[in-house]
Amino acid sequence: MLAALRCCGPRSFPAAFSEAIPAWSPWLVPSRGRKSRYDPPAKSKASRLKVPPPVDPAELYVVTERYRQHRLVLSALRSIFRSEVVQRKREAQRDAEDSAALSEEHRLLMAWNDAENARQRARREERIRKEEEERKMQKLQAAENKAKLMEAFLKEKEKEVLQLQEEAKTFITPENLEARIEECLDNPRNYNFAIDKEGRIVKRTALS
């Protein structure tokens, strides 16, 4: 069971002994041999005070500096090797592709592709030209129709105006008011007649 815990838990055992991090807390599984997490520590370890290893600050500074240099050099080497690998791959690809038959086939395919493109372009331009003409024709038609409609409208209005002018001759104005009144009084009209559905005056009714 401890072997299973060992691969799940953290590898490093906490060196600092403090109240905040008890030695036996569930997240700190020590990778030691016999005892499981539920076994109590030995009596000989009761007074043990765990102290981290002493660190010489000058040496630490020197060591950090050395690590920095080391990592710089390593990253530079890695980039060199990376570029080598990429170059090798590219050369291998080129050697594989560089055969005469493949280049010939490539050339033929490119030529066919160009022919296809040209054909499609011709068709496309034809279609666009036709559409332009259609649109122009439609515009002309629309303008003509509009002009016709305007003409008809104007004619209608002219007719109405003329009709009104004609009718205006029979209007009653303050000047010929007297004359018209005289005229009406002189000519009494009899409206006492019936009318059928077609609008003809009916002379013979049941009442007469």
Binding site: V62, R66, H70, R78, R82, V85
Partner: protein
């Protein structure tokens, strides 16, 4: 016959290629193979390629012998393989990579300790030799 080959292959999530030591040999006779493998594989399990070997026990002439395939090492490092610490130290000692800082630091510490041991041996010897002369 049902073909199940690719279904039985182990597929990992994450992980990276690592150049590390795989332990072989017998009881009290270790032998390491320098190996490029996935980081999630077992230490002695299936690897991608063997790049060398290391015999940690000194031979009759007092040498620890190691063999390295530098060409393939370059290839794997170019493909982005990580190195384990002992592998880095070995390659540093071999001269392929720069020396690991801890190699230098441990060597310094050892030298200092030896010099201190020498000095602590020499003065008591001198003091011991001087005291009898002083006493006398």
């Amino acid at each position: 016959m049902v073909q199940l080959g690719s279904a039985l292959l182990k597929g990992y999530r994450g992980g990276h290629v690592v150049i590390r030591f795989a332990l072989g040999g017998c009881t009290n006779r270790p032998f390491y193979r320098i190996v490029a493998a996935h980081s999630k594989r077992a230490r002695d399990g299936k690897y991608l390629e063997q790049l060398g070997c290391l015999d940690p026990l000194p031979n009759a002439h007092g040498e620890k012998v190691a063999g390295l395939n530098l060409e393939r090492l370059r290839h794997w490092l170019g493909c982005g393989a990580q190195l384990s610490r002992p592998a880095e130290k070995l390659l540093g000692l071999a001269g392929f990579l720069p020396l690991h800082p801890m190699t230098i630091t441990n060597a310094e510490r050892l030298r200092r300790r030896r010099r201190r041991a020498q000095e602590s041996d020499a003065p008591p010897a001198e003091g011991g030799s001087q005291e009898p002369s002083a006493a006398v």
